[in-house]
Symmetry: C2
């Protein structure tokens, strides 16, 4: 993508990203655990089969071929808003070594572009208070609380 | 469901709920707009085809056959947490005339039961600060902010 300059490539997740380190990037966000290449492939195919529902994008660093950023948009089908669509932005992560280069904002911008394009009436996401200002910079507003129950 | 007593029936959404008023209940939550029976049927079939992904439940009032409560669980597939599942609780509504009868808590309990049963590591939902205490009563904890961008 031209907006990113020549050093980074923004593109859909592909199978080879297992070896390009996408799961290592996600480890900066939260627990990932052990995922074999086989399990990754299976999950990748599951999500790919859900056309128009899951959009997983990555930023690849051109010089190394490594994945340095990742994000997902899950498009939810509702009855409200005339059977409207809502985009859920999930699992946004940028490698520690690549932070401060506005890669996060590029990922959100791309997922907003997709959400709008597929017809979502809004995109939403959950974050810690600590990350609120980053999402405000991305054009998001605080809309309330996230509530959780862990099983 | 026996927990509900004989006056109410908790069950999956069915096609006839268009006529039993499910959309009127959702109008207490937010904008629903005009949805024809044909459009409702199409969306219902779309969601039903996504087995294990969308669970829409309603509470029917036995005396009238009307829908008086509704709620949805959308099960998201992730890479994090060893390709874990997260349940998104969405579009919870109880008819104004039936509020104060603990029907909301029954809907959340049923969606938590489903989320746990299908293997989600957590259920999450977004709400206004005004509804936080209701979800605390349901066993939920505040986990941060919801951020929104409207298109
Ligand atoms: C915008 C964004 O990336 N939000 C993420 C969410 O997508 C992710 O699933 C969750 C994992 O947290 P957990 O490991 O505690 O479930 O963290 C954050 O809320
Ligand atoms: C737990 C619960 O029911 N939360 C709902 C959410 O599911 C619904 O989609 C949204 C609609 O609001 P909107 O019409 O402003 O998009 O309101 C609330 O956040």
């Amino acid at each position: 993508s031209s907006q990113l300059g020549p050093d980074y490539i923004l593109r859909p997740l592909q199978l080879s990203d297992y070896r390009a380190g996408v799961l290592e990037v996600l480890k900066d966000l939260t627990v990932v655990g052990d995922i074999s290449e086989e399990r990754f492939t299976e999950q990748f195919e599951f999500l790919r089969a859900r056309q128009g529902e899951y959009f997983v994008i990555v930023i690849e660093k051109a010089a190394t071929g490594n994945v340095v950023g990742v994000g997902t948009l899950l498009v939810e089908r509702k009855f409200i808003h005339e059977c409207g669509l809502v985009g859920h932005i999930e699992d946004i992560a940028v490698a520690k070594s690549e932070q401060g280069k506005r890669l996060g904002i590029k990922i959100i911008g791309a997922l907003d572009f997709i959400g709008k394009r597929v017809g979502c009436y809004k995109n939403i996401l959950d974050c810690s208070p600590h990350n609120e200002q980053f999402y405000v910079k991305c054009g998001y507003s605080n809309a309330g609380f996230e509530m959780t129950k862990r099983f």
